[in-house]
């Protein structure tokens, strides 16, 4: 089996008439951290949201081209909810559900049909451990999730995503609303998770991309400028815009 999880072919995306992604061709590999990077408005979030078809919710959004997930066109799959379970997403702003810590993590399990209490308890604990949150919340499982700190909330959202046993974890600037300590915790966590999961992270911070990613995708004004091994691109960018971004001249 090839280690390519996503293959994106000639992808164009539009909001109304406005073209936000322009002829993207890209492969995302299994069990690595791929960072999508670029200045604001370059289309990086749109690209990420295409991967689990979240843009379907936006009126006026349209798309051309193909996204293959393990060889299968994701815009032709029949079971979208099952697909979204396999390719799940964590957002920029922590978005805990208005319920307890436990129920937040159990939510995804419940909607996918797991109701047995002992199984739920086991899987919730496992997910919270994976998200490095268990020790901090094991005594507050019944407390409302909004009472956790911002960083804890974001790890809770990661735990919630992991609980449904996905293959891919998409993260849209997951640390931009967090302080440096919480950010470091999440970055370490992502590095651990990449041993088991394919991680795709959109980040505005170049430092973050360099610290944690194996591969980096650089977008500029809706176009893919270059992509490949992070350390290679960091040292020897092929394109002038990448160089300018790396040196902080644009961003």
């Amino acid at each position: 089996m090839s280690d390519v999880v996503f293959e994106i072919k000639n992808l164009y995306a539009y909001y109304g008439d406005h073209c936000v992604l322009n002829d993207i061709n890209l492969k995302i590999r299994s069990k690595r951290i791929t960072a999508i990077m670029g200045p604001s408005g370059c289309g990086k979030s749109t690209l990420l949201r295409c991967l689990n078809r979240l843009n379907d919710l936006i009126p006026d959004f349209s798309l051309k081209g193909q996204i293959l997930f393990r060889g299968q066109d994701i815009y032709r799959i029949s079971n979208l909810t099952e697909y979204r379970r396999r390719v799940t997403m964590v957002f920029q702003k922590p978005n805990p559900f208005p319920m307890s810590v436990f129920d937040n993590v159990a939510y995804g399990l419940r909607i996918h049909g797991i109701t047995k209490k002992s199984v739920l308890r086991e899987k919730v604990e496992e997910a919270l451990r994976k998200a490095a949150l268990w020790d901090e919340v094991k005594d507050k499982l019944k407390k409302p999730a909004v009472q956790l700190s911002g960083g804890q909330q974001q790890r809770l959202c990661i735990a919630r995503a992991l609980a449904v046993e996905p293959e891919v974890l998409l993260l849209d600037e997951p640390t931009s609303a967090l302080d440096p300590i919480a950010t470091t915790k999440i970055e370490r966590l992502l590095e651990e998770l990449a041993e088991q999961y394919t991680v795709v992270i959109v980040t505005h911070s170049m430092g973050q991309a360099l610290r944690i990613s194996d591969e980096v995708v650089f977008l500029y004004e809706g176009k893919l400028i270059e992509y490949g091994d992070t350390s290679v691109i960091a040292k020897t960018p092929k394109h002038e815009v990448t160089r300018q971004f790396l040196t902080g001249k644009i961003g």
């Binding site: 979240l54 979204r84 799940t88 997403m89 909607i111």
Partner: protein, 274 residues
């Protein structure tokens, strides 16, 4: 600071106090003038007798409550579905048009609803002067009011929450349930306000379901009903001095209930903020 500014400031202050004093006095006079009658034996538990000059307000109170229960049963499902449609399903333009329509319906005078109910429910649908006609008429008025208020609470739920649910592989329906869960306090507030308003409306039921006097409580939906606001109107307009105390007692009760409703709403808003 010039003397003119000081004078202006004091003038504004005095006007404000005066306005508040008038409002408080109005409520106080109504409550105080009716309150002593609460303690008459049988005020809440007896039927009125001798052209409403003796007895109590039992059938009016029960009638009003029955009406509220029916309005509740009709407005909640319909209003909630409408609210969900406006906030979660309808395309933005359609939603805007529908919402301004609902806002317009809020400013239609209530007697117009009464006349509509009379010609549509009572006559066209042959429901007659009845509990069902009155409650449907009141619901026609309450639903847009409820939707207008509740939809704002649904819209205030951040987009990230909906997306978070969908991103886990949930259906649109499950996302909508999550939105309702997140806005439940606000929706409940809208509901209480709606019922509070329907409770005190007089004109729409005056011509569709309320009667001045009946000898029994309504047992079927097609029976007419006595209610608090319409009985106040009837007593004040038609009866002599010896019956006015009953109108005062009912008015006092209604004001107290309304104050209670708003107090409850404030309490819930405070809880929501915490």
């Amino acid at each position: 600071m010039g003397q003119g500014v000081i004078a202006l400031r004091w003038t504004l202050r005095i006007i404000t106090y005066a306005v508040f004093a008038i409002m408080v006095l109005t409520l106080a006079i109504i409550v105080v003038s009716g309150l002593p009658h609460f303690f008459r034996p049988g005020f809440f538990t007896e039927w009125p007798r001798r052209a409403m000059s003796e007895g109590g307000i039992f059938p009016m109170l029960i009638g009003s409550l029955m009406l509220m229960a029916l309005v509740f049963e009709v407005s909640i499902p319909v209003g909630l579905i409408g609210t969900i449609f406006l906030s979660e399903i309808a395309p933005r333009k359609l939603s805007m048009v529908l919402q301004s329509l609902a806002a317009t319906m809020n400013s239609v005078p209530s007697i117009v609803y009464g006349v509509f109910g009379l010609s549509f429910f009572c006559v066209r649908l042959s429901m007659g002067t009845s509990l069902i006609s009155a409650s449907l008429t009141l619901s026609t008025m309450s639903i847009p009011f409820f939707m207008n208020s509740a939809v704002e609470f649904l819209r205030a739920v951040p987009k990230e929450l909906r997306e978070g649910v969908i991103a886990l592989g949930a259906s649109k329906l499950q996302a909508t349930l999550m939105v309702l869960r997140a806005s439940r306090n606000g929706v409940l507030t809208s509901l209480i306000l709606t019922l509070g308003r329907a409770f005190s409306e007089t004109a729409p039921i005056l011509v569709t379901g309320a009667v001045f006097y009946t000898t029994k409580l309504p047992v079927r939906l097609t029976d007419p009903v006595m209610t608090l606001p319409t009985s106040i109107y009837a007593i004040v307009m038609n009866l002599g001095e010896e019956s006015q105390w009953m109108a005062k007692g009912m008015a006092s009760l209604m004001v107290l209930i309304t104050i209670g409703v708003y107090f409850l709403v404030q309490l819930m808003r405070r809880n929501q903020r915490e």
